[in-house]
C-alpha cells in the first residue's frame, strides 16, 4: 500500500462516521455558499479518493460546479472535536448505473421520485488535499498530493509519496 492509499484510508476513517458534510462552492458573483450533503457509500478500506453525492441537475450547487469545479467539503464531529477540510474538484455525473449502485431508500426524503427522477444527478468530488484536526489540540495534519490517476490508480505526483506534514492551525 503506497502513502497516498494510506492517507486516503486514514482520511476515509475520519469522515466515515460524519453523516453530513458541508459542500462549499463559489457562485457567479464570487460569494461562497455551503449546504449539508450526505456522503454516499464510503468504503473506508478501499477508498479511491472520490466522494459521491446525489443532487438535482437544476440545483444551485450543480450550476456553481459547472462554472467552477473547485469545491471544499467540511466534515465536523464536534463531540470528538474532529474537523476535516477536503479540497477537490467536482464533476456532475449522469451515469444511471452509478446512481443505482449508490442509491439507498433514505434518499427518498430529498428525492421522492427516486431513481426515476429525470432531474437526478450525481456529484463526484476528486480529493486533491485535506487538512485534519482530530483533537482539541491546535495542530493540524495536512495531506497533499492525494490525486490518483483514474487510469493507473497510482499517485499522479512523486511528491505524493511524502504527502503528509504538520502545520500550526492559526
Amino acid at each position: 500500500m503506497n502513502t497516498v492509499d494510506m492517507d486516503l484510508e486514514r482520511l476515509a476513517g475520519l469522515i466515515s462516521d460524519i453523516q453530513f458534510t458541508m459542500l462549499t462552492t463559489v457562485s457567479d458573483d464570487g460569494s461562497i455558499h455551503s449546504r449539508p450533503m450526505a456522503t454516499q457509500k464510503l468504503d473506508v478500506e478501499h477508498f479511491d479518493g472520490t466522494l459521491w453525492f446525489f443532487s438535482k441537475k437544476t440545483s444551485h450547487k450543480n450550476h456553481c460546479i459547472e462554472k467552477d469545479q473547485h469545491v471544499n467539503l467540511a466534515y465536523a464531529n464536534p463531540s470528538k472535536q474532529r474537523y476535516v477540510s477536503i479540497s477537490g474538484r467536482a464533476n456532475i455525473v449522469e451515469d444511471r448505473s452509478k446512481m443505482q449502485e449508490l442509491w439507498n431508500p433514505t434518499l427518498k426524503a430529498w428525492f421522492p421520485e427516486g431513481l426515476m427522477d429525470p432531474e437526478l444527478s450525481l456529484i463526484s468530488v476528486n480529493i486533491e488535499s485535506a487538512e485534519i484536526w482530530d483533537s482539541p489540540a491546535s495542530k493540524m495534519v495536512q495531506m497533499v498530493g492525494l490525486v490518483k490517476s483514474a487510469v493507473t490508480g497510482k499517485p499522479l505526483s512523486q511528491n505524493a509519496t511524502k504527502s503528509q506534514h504538520i502545520e500550526i492551525r492559526h
Copy 2:
C-alpha cells in the same frame, strides 16, 4: 425591531451553541480551504451582523482574505441536525482595543503570547446572506439582504424587509 434585526437575532441564536465554525476561503490557485474557528463573544440579543475571529497575520486564511474578501462560515450541530451556511465578506482588523474586548484566556491554546503577540489579528465577517437547515427535514430557510449600513445601522436594501423565503435543499 426591523426584519433584518429579527433575522440576525434568529441566526445568532442558531449558531450560538456551536463552538467551532468552518471558515472557508478561496486560495490564489482557485482551490477552496476551510478550517475550524471559534466565534468570539456572540451577543445574540444585540447581534449586529458581524462575526469575529482571532488569527495570525501570516496565516494562509489572512492571505486569502487579503486577495478575496468572500468567505463562507459553516456551522454544524449534528446532534440537532442543524446546519447553517453564512456568506459574507471578511476583513483583517488590527485594532488592539477590539482584540482586548474579545480576548478570553482559552485563546492561549492557539496564541500563547496572548494580546502581546505582534502577529495577532482579528478577522471580522460581515454577513450578507445565510441558509439554515434546522431539522432533519429537507427544507432550507434562506435569509438574504442581511447587510446593515455601518453608519446608520439600518438595512442597506429595501429588499431586506422581505428577506426570508423557503427553498428546497437539493
